[in-house]
Each structure stands twice: as C-alpha cells, then as structure tokens.
C-alpha cells in the first residue's frame, strides 16, 4: 500500500521538477505580492512591522490558492485521474501523496523564502523561526482544504474564481492562528498556543480532508 503512496509522490515530484517554471512562478507571485504592500501602505517601518505577519500569511494563502488548479487539472485532462480512481488502491492514500507533493513544491518554497521576505518588512528577527514554523504547520492545512475545493471544481466553468469563493472562508481560521502566532511571538506573549492549535488543525485536516477529497474526485469524474 505504501508503494502506491511513494509511486504517486515520486511521479508528481518528477512532473513538478520537469515543469520547474510553474513552481517558480508561484514563488515569484508570493514575493511580488509581499513587495506590493509597502507601495500601498507606505514604507514607514513601524507600520510595516505591524502588518508583516498578516501580509506574509495572506500572500502565502493566495499563492496556495492560485496554484491549486494544478493539483488535479492535468491528471483530469489526460485521464490519469480516472485510472487512479479505477485502481484497487484506496483513493485516500494517493490523494494524500498528491497533496504532499503539491505542498513540497508550493508550500515548502514559501516557508523557506518567507523569513527572508520578513526582513524586508522589518519583522523582528526573534519572530522569524516562529514565522517559518507557523507557515510549515499552516500551509499543509491550506493544501489539504484546498484539495477538496480543487476536486469539487474540477472542469467547472469559472473554476478559479469559484474555488476562491469556496475555500477562502475555510482558510480564515488558519490565517488567524498563523498570523496570530507570529504576532504573539513578536509582541512577546509567546506563540505556543497558536502553534499548538495549528498543529491540531493539521492533524484534523490530515484525517478528514483526504476522505472528502477522494469523495469529491469520485463525484467530479463520474
């Protein structure tokens, strides 16, 4: 059973590697969105420091949202998805592998780049590890929830906007605790509670989202 998991994971990672440009575009999007904010709100360091956690988190969330269509679209078009659904392997397993590959190619780069960008916004250096940790815990939740939305909107007209409408309200708790963790660390109250809640959310999403996603894929390819 784990063979399936690793086979799908390896295949998706290989595909992502062959199409490196797509992955880099997501990352560039994240960087540019963050860099837009000083132009919009002014380069006053105190103000930038205050909004930095929120800006970084919202940008990460949008980067995830805009790359979600890649998760199943290609496999849907060339029929891979149907073959996977027809196979005797449990769908939850390979869905999880696909989401993991997706996170490794879009979420992980954001996690790695975010601390550097945070310096541009003058975020306190003590809060940088918390920022990376909160993103590392939070972006997989975004990917898991987003996968359900991506599966439901597969091949639907206006899918991109619809996807945003469907899942952005569901992203709100992750945003609250993720940005809240960084803010709490920067203000000295400690981020443990936020990070624990994010971890709990990740555990819950890991258990439930693949089930919903597999059901949604069955419906979409019906």
């Amino acid at each position: 059973m784990l063979n399936t998991f690793f086979a799908v994971l390896r295949r998706d990672l290989l595909l992502a590697w062959r199409g490196r440009a797509d992955v880099l575009v997501t990352l560039a999007f994240f960087v540019i969105v963050v860099c837009l904010f000083p132009f919009g709100v002014g380069a006053e360091p105190n103000q930038l420091r205050a909004i930095a956690p929120g800006v970084l988190w919202v940008a990460a969330l949008l980067a995830c949202l805009l790359s979600l269509h890649r998760l199943f679209a290609q496999d849907h078009v060339d029929g891979t998805l149907e073959q996977l659904l027809l196979s005797s392997e449990p769908a939850v397993l390979w869905v999880l592998a696909k989401v993991l590959a997706f996170w490794l190619t879009t979420g992980l780069p954001v996690v790695l780049v975010a601390p550097g960008l945070a310096l541009l916004l003058d975020l306190e250096q003590g809060a940088l590890p918390t920022l990376a940790l909160s993103l590392a815990l939070g972006t997989p939740i975004l990917a898991l929830l987003g996968a359900v939305g991506a599966a439901l909107t597969l091949g639907v007209r206006g899918g991109g906007m619809l996807l945003a409408l469907l899942i952005l309200p569901l992203f709100v708790p992750v945003l609250i605790f993720g940005a809240g963790a960084v803010e709490a660390e920067a203000s000295g109250t400690g981020a443990a509670a936020h990070l624990l809640l994010l971890g709990g959310g990740l555990a819950g999403a890991l258990a439930l989202a693949p089930l919903a996603c597999a059901a949604a894929l069955r419906i979409s390819t019906d």
């Binding site: 439901l152 639907v156 206006g158 619809l162 409408l165 569901l170 609250i176 605790f177 439930l208 419906i219």
Partner: protein
C-alpha cells in the same frame, strides 16, 4: 405492523411525484401563517413592547435582526443535514431541498448583517465592528455564496447535487472552528469592547415579540422553500410521465 406502515408512509414523501403536490398544498398554509405571525410579531414589537431603558427605540430592530440571525444559522444546519441524508440514502429530493434552502439562508444572513449594521451605528457609533459574531456571520454568508455558486456552476445536476452536498458538509464541520477562531482572534485584538451576550433582562412582551417573529421566519422559510422546490422537481423529472400529466393539467387550467 402499524409502525412499519407509518414508517413507510413517511418515506413515501421522498418520492418526487408524491412530494410535489404535497409541497403545493402546504406552501400556501405556511405563507398565510408567515403573514399572520409577522403582523402579530410586528404589532407586539413596535406597538406593545415598551421602549428600552438604555437603547431607546433603536433596540426594536432586534425583532427582525435576531430571528434572521437564528434562521440563517439554523438553515445552514438543515442544509447540511439534507446533504448528508442525500449522500447516505441517495435520495434525489434531499439535494433539491438543500439547494432550495440555500438562497433563503443567504437572504436571512444578509438581513441579519444589514439590520445589525443599522443597529450598530446609533448604539456603537459604527456600522461595523470586527466582533466575533459579526465576523462569523459574514463568513457564513460567504459559505452560502460558495454553496450556491458551486451548485449553479455545475451543469450536470447529479454532480452538482453531490458536489454541493460535500461543500455543505465541509462548511458545517468548519462553522464551529471558524466561530471559535474568530472569537479568540477578536479577544486577542482587543477590539471594540462590545458585549452582545450581556443582555439585560428582557421584558416579557419583547421576548414574546421576538419569538413570534422567529416563528414567522420559520413559516416564511418553509413556504418559500416548498415553492422553490416545486419547479426544481419538475425540471429534474421532466422526462417522467407524471410531470407530463402535471404540466398538461396545469397548462389546461390557464
């Protein structure tokens, strides 16, 4: 024997051709009840109920606001319930019910937000504060929009039904999470210190007016939903014989 017969009778209404005339018969009664209850409720609320000691006349918006807010949350639960029933029992009518409920839920959600803003301006001095209840109500409205948009965007009704059901259930699981996270976020941010829960003991007539209005909202929801279900059933069952008969009969009446 008797109980099994009764059970059979209830499930009989899951069949569209049985439910269609029943909905048509029931809807006018609920509509009449809604009108009557609204009149009584408004009379109680605007004529009988005393002026609030602290808020003055402004408080009277609660006679619309509170029932709308209750209804908007309750309808989402009912929607999720019918979605679950539809997915588990594979009954077509359940999906139709949940889709017919959604617009009413969204409207009540919007009414609650709107009247809340009108109440907030004179009382808090702002149309909007990022209070936990307001924010989660806003997110609930977005969840309704998502559900409606998804079910309308998918052309194949079978797929639209199931996809909508899944997003309704995912939303229902998330509603408490959203509520508590927003509540906690609000306390962390030390926003406008407004307490909605600290309601002063309410005069009996105020409570009565609010309850009557709540029942009016229930009756309205039932009437509108039943009316909305009927054409949806006809559209989905248009290839069947009984729909042909119904259309002939109703067309002949004109």
């Amino acid at each position: 024997m008797n109980s099994s017969q009764r059970g059979f009778r209830i499930f009989r209404f899951a069949a569209p051709q049985v439910f269609y005339p029943l909905a048509g018969r029931l809807a006018p009664w609920f509509a009449a009840a809604a009108v009557a209850l609204t009149l009584v409720g408004l009379w109680l609320g605007f004529v009988v109920a005393p002026t609030d000691a602290t808020q003055g006349e402004v408080y009277r918006v609660i006679f619309i606001h509170v029932p709308a807010a209750w209804m908007s949350m309750f309808i989402y639960l009912v929607m999720a319930f019918w979605s679950a029933v539809g997915l588990v029992m594979n009954t077509r009518l359940s999906f139709v019910m949940s889709q017919a409920l959604a617009p009413t839920g969204a409207i009540f959600c919007f009414v609650a937000l709107w009247t809340g803003a009108l109440w907030g301006k004179p009382t808090w001095g702002a149309y909007w504060v990022w209070d936990a209840r307001l924010t989660s109500q806003l997110l609930l409205l977005f969840l309704y929009f998502g559900f409606i948009a998804l079910t309308r965007a998918i052309e194949d009704p079978r797929r639209a039904d199931r996809a909508g059901a899944i997003i309704a259930l995912v939303g229902a699981v998330n509603v408490p999470i959203i509520y508590f996270s927003v509540k906690w976020w609000n306390t962390l941010h030390q926003g406008a210190s407004v307490s909605l829960t600290k309601a002063p003991s309410m005069a009996t007539t105020m409570l009565a007016g609010m309850l009557v209005m709540a029942f009016a909202a229930w009756a309205y929801t039932l009437a509108v939903t039943l009316w909305r279900v009927r054409p949806m059933i006809l559209e989905r069952e248009r290839h069947t014989e009984w729909v042909g008969e119904v259309l002939e009969r109703e067309g002949g009446r004109k």
